[in-house]
Symmetry: C2
Subunit: 291 residues, 2 copies
């Protein structure tokens, strides 16, 4: 099953993508016949609210009205935690000159970092902006000290993300955070696909294109730490809750590892795609700003 | 003026510490005569809610009832962003063998990391737990691309924090986050002191004691990047909002830099104090857990 948050009728709604189009999700606690009874901030306003209210995503999720003209936006607009794994594809690790890791390398973004599948990525003129196509795990249950089985059961589904990175800021100091957590930097979407429909461990092709030229291609089967590994590991030190996101790392082909290095320019079109999940198409904007 | 969040009458309240004791804050929008009309989640339930609702902290903040028997808890229970600066005191930078930095080194914790001024710090048996006494800045206004003047104006006040760190996890990979963002690791409080009353740039003595033995002592005047520097810098890449926290870094004397290295044990009493702000006194708990 495919789920998302859609723009519809001047607001947003949590919805399922069916063969007929987007259908509203019905709130987990009460299930009124008319989905329009829900307002912004209600359990059906977006997938963050739906999951936080105890909603579950899957073939049994109750569906409401068909939402004519709905368009997908960022599926999880308000995760409290967006944790990212670096150095998690063997070939990308090799291009950075490092050994295969014993532990996942983790850093973070914020809800403010996230934009939707067709939104502009808006950063700052004069910075070194790079692409990182990634599979993102959506957390569906509250977990702490989870073993692998509990972590697997806590996966609500997967979406596509691009961990767009400001390389000069990332490498100003030892800690990458300041190059990773820029507002409006990180496309996500267009849908969350549940485990009944896809299995990233079996292998999904992930690709990234800049102005139509393919710059990254890999299989999610080659991830060093898979989704359950990452959730279990993270849950050792912090609680993960419904709607939180984990970005699982990017394969080889990033701009900073090329010779010569290559960065994104204002107006570049960045496409990020994962087989059987979907496509993000975002325009890079690098406005000048003064402080 | 000193403000905080207090446990009172089975709930919590945003409050000011006066010579008579703790007095309830009155909600910024409506100001009923009886503060007890506010419930949990209301603008006066805690300082996070009060600041998020547009409340300002200072000599002009309207005060309500005296809260008999009130005890301070974590002053900001729900910051969306808790950003920490490393390597920000000259002597601590030297003990790690590094040069004075051109940019602040930034990493994060979560709201889940925070505990109050007398709460236990609860981590995990078998880990290398270390102390880091720190001055924390409380953000009082929404800022993005702030210059130094705007950043200075956005400071609501300062509180005491201890950036308790799990060193073995911190150094497992290149990124410190996984050693820094443990739930229930980071004492904060007991009060937020506003700029009319203290000036960290002029110098406040910060100390840390373990079982009564002083292990850190410095002046906040020796910070490389001061509070306004940090807020302005961070606001270049992400929006900071009322109630967010910035931990400004720790001075020399941490356990991992000693020879031999020294870490905290279960039952150790950790005291963190900043002159004219207050004292945190927390017991370290290192329970065994299996995943």
């Amino acid at each position: 099953m495919k789920f998302g948050t859609v723009a519809h009728d001047g607001g947003t709604r949590a919805a399922a993508l069916t063969t007929e189009g987007w259908r509203a999700l019905v709130a987990p606690a009460s299930r009124p016949e008319d989905g329009d009874a829900y307002a912004v901030g209600s359990p059906t306003a977006d997938l963050s609210a739906f999951l936080a209210a105890g909603g579950a995503l899957g073939p049994g999720t109750p569906l409401g009205d068909l939402l004519e003209g709905a368009e997908p936006v960022a599926p999880l607009p308000r995760p409290a935690k967006v944790i990212c794994c670096g150095l998690n594809y063997g070939e990308h690790i090799r291009e950075t000159g490092r050994e295969l890791p014993g532990h996942p390398t983790l850093f973070v973004k914020y809800a403010d970092s996230l934009v939707g599948p067709t939104d502009d990525v808006s950063l700052l003129a004069g910075t070194d902006v790079d692409w990182e196509a990634e599979l993102a795990v959506v957390v569906g249950a509250t977990i702490r000290h989870a073993n692998r089985a509990a972590a697997t059961a806590a996966i609500a589904g997967w979406t596509v993300a691009n961990d767009v990175s400001v390389r000069d800021w990332q490498y100003r100091t030892l800690q990458w955070f300041q190059g990773k957590a820029w507002d409006d930097s990180t496309p996500t979407g267009p849908v969350v696909v549940t485990p009944d429909e896809v299995d990233p461990v079996a292998g999904l092709t992930i690709t990234c294109r800049v102005n139509g030229e393919e710059v990254q291609r890999a299989s999610t089967a080659t991830l060093v730490f898979d989704s359950a590994d990452l959730l279990a590991y993270i849950s050792t030190f912090t609680t993960m809750r419904p709607g939180d996101l984990v970005l699982t790392g990017t394969p080889g082909g990033v701009g900073v590892a090329r010779d010569p290095k290559r960065f994104l320019a204002d107006g570049d079109v960045l496409e990020t795609e994962i087989e059987r999940i979907g496509l993000l198409r975002n325009v890079i904007r690098l406005p000048a700003r003064t402080s």
